[in-house]
Subunit: 401 residues, 2 copies
């Protein structure tokens, strides 16, 4: 596997673009489009929030046949809590886009991100759709990545090439997270393009499994958005033999690369958490089962106390163990060893006379590694988060203005 340039337009026959439709302001791009020259098999995973944006409901219906050819996205307005008008607006976005691209409306996936509870500025959005459809480019990955940003400080893209049965196959992804991953509904969005030939059933399983170890293992705060989605579309133009069996070697090989793409994007999102200074990587190893490992890793990654301690480079391992304790997972605290970087700070659930300087050094690294060894089995899980800073509070104290 090698990392390549070109982002989501690196896979064959994908085009993209991003334009400024003046939804956010007069300069920032806010409408983006991904388009495949050929129909794609497609699948997605969506927010579990009971309060869902109109585009989430529409896109999950549109993807239910396992097909798509375009993804239209706007930032600046989430189209959530907008009632019947919101549904009409989401439908209009799909219809208008389909009309301009000469494809069926249900092959268009719609995503929105931004402020919630405000009706869509639909005149600007339709103008944006017109412009973005007419300016699609084989090299439009970067402007698309820019168009979906909200409070994100950096665009998040990755593309890789693998060789599948002798044929080069490309997988690429773009994501946005904003400071807190699920920020004032600034929402986590991820779009994956690939020129591999993959059945829609396999895609459905792939995106679910891969999201579970990537996007579902990051947290900047614990607030889940009304608009979160991760969608994959595959146009088959690489010419590989169709991947249609989830037990096949090709499936597993493809999944390895897809997992890399998704975890890379997930880590970029966590690192760019609102106000974050550090990426925190929490590994739970030697657990009795995967669920236990996941629950503990996620609980630690969302602990305000742990996040604030990392911000302050305070080797407060007690908070880490306590966050494991209230995770709801079943484990024996009297067996747990805790490491900050390489430094073992607790053993069998008790503090050690550890080297404070070493621990502090581990906490000052760009990526802070926390490891819990449960010493009870062969399973493990990794979660990512970021530290809790003054800047997070500042950004979120007045998001709307």
């Amino acid at each position: 596997m090698k990392i390549i340039d070109g982002g989501i337009t690196a896979p064959r026959d994908f085009m993209a673009q991003g334009v400024c439709a003046q939804i956010k302001n007069h300069t920032k791009k806010d409408v983006g489009l991904i388009y495949s020259k050929f129909p794609c098999s497609a699948a997605g995973v969506f927010t579990t929030n009971k309060v869902k944006a109109a585009c989430v409901d529409l896109s999950s219906v549109h993807l239910s046949d396992g097909q798509a050819q375009a993804i239209i996205v706007n930032s600046g307005n989430a189209n959530a809590c907008t009632g019947i008008q919101g549904f009409a607006d989401a439908q209009l976005m799909a219809d208008y886009c389909a009309d301009l691209l000469h494809i069926p409306p249900r092959d268009v996936v719609v995503a929105s991100t931004g402020v919630i509870g405000v009706q869509m500025p639909i005149v600007q959005i339709t103008k944006g759709i017109l412009e973005v459809c007419h300016s699609l480019s084989d090299y439009g990955s970067a402007p698309f990545a820019e168009a979906i940003m909200t409070t994100d400080l950096v665009a998040k893209e990755i593309a890789v090439e693998i060789e599948l049965q002798g044929i080069p196959v490309r997988i690429a992804g773009v994501a946005k997270g904003s400071g807190m991953i699920h920020p004032n509904m600034a929402t986590m969005l991820a779009f994956i393009t690939t020129d591999a030939a993959v059945s829609s059933d396999c895609l459905k399983q792939l995106i679910k499994e891969s999201a579970d170890i990537s996007y579902n293992m990051i947290s900047v705060d614990r607030d889940t958005s009304t608009n979160d989605m991760a969608v994959i579309i595959a146009n088959g133009q690489a010419g590989n033999q169709l991947i249609k069996d989830s037990d096949s070697d090709a499936y597993k090989f493809f999944k390895g690369a897809l997992d890399f793409v998704n975890t890379t994007l997930a880590k970029k999102i966590a690192r760019d958490g609102e106000g974050a200074k550090h990426l925190i990587e929490i590994k739970v190893i030697n657990a009795a089962n995967e669920k236990t490992a996941r629950m503990i890793a996620r609980s630690i990654s969302t602990s305000n106390l742990t996040k604030a301690a990392v911000f302050g480079s305070d080797a407060n391992w007690g908070r880490i163990l306590a966050a494991a304790g209230y995770s709801g997972a079943d484990f024996n605290p009297y067996l747990v060893d805790i490491y900050l970087g390489e430094e073992k700070v607790a053993e069998d659930g008790m503090g050690l006379q550890f080297n404070e300087a070493q621990a502090k050094e581990a906490l000052e690294k760009d990526t802070v590694e926390i490891t819990l060894d449960l010493k009870t089995g062969p399973y493990q899980a990794t979660a990512w988060g970021c530290d809790l800073t003054y800047e997070y509070v500042r950004i979120n104290a007045d998001y709307r203005s």
Copy 2:
């Protein structure tokens, strides 16, 4: 019911004291004792964290017979994650205290709060126990309240008197929470004294039910401590007829006053959240069942985004509805009305053209009231929290130093 002076020593034949044993530093009180001149029926509720301090395990055993006569507490060290030595230290605290008070060791409840993962300074603690046992006072409520504080800015006490079948009965409570209620294991502790005669079975049910609508409905952050406990002891010296039937009027009347004591302390804890500027009171009304109301109220009270929005006086009702959405509760978001104070900001899950000035005024009050009307049934629940501020981050970035 009237509010009276005297704190936990207001009920007949209770004594208390707090002394400085130099656990925290050379000036702050850090060992406290509550003592009843007569044996008490007693009950408690304890942290659900899988990682429990030694004193939690010991005290739940000591209370299993429904009896107690003294409560010894230290602040500055939580005696959590301290292994076998921790259990020995907790046991020693009970034994030494019992010896000095001439009561059985198992009638002593032990509580600790402070930094976790550090062995107890047992020499100082025993010195403190000796001093506190010899200086017990009928007016020692205030020094006790001070001795259990950690990052708390104010002591938290309340005492009330009710008339039970013509006989004056007193109920009093003292609590500590520190900034975040469950702060760096700064732990929530509450101790209730009463001179009512109540059977231990009734007390067990009373403290559980009352904690469920008070301490279990507050949150400063979402981190649950290793040391949380709420304990009630009743010495029967008021001379009322024994309350032994939970269906009786006396039980219900007593519970009303106990609920007032506990919710008063709970609100004092939430208001004194680390760095908090506002108490946030979230009422969920007209729910289909109590569980739904509780889940939604608690989810909103723990949402970082909502807490940061209150800090910034930002009428961002979308975050409130989204926090309801990810609570796990089953409800119809398209029916929900949301109020900030008296100002209705959303109706049927959609934003209204509300008065921003009125909403801002509601958000700037000392107590910020958020109401969600689910419009589906007769149940309701109230939760309390506080805003998320720069100060919270500062306090928790370096708690140990």
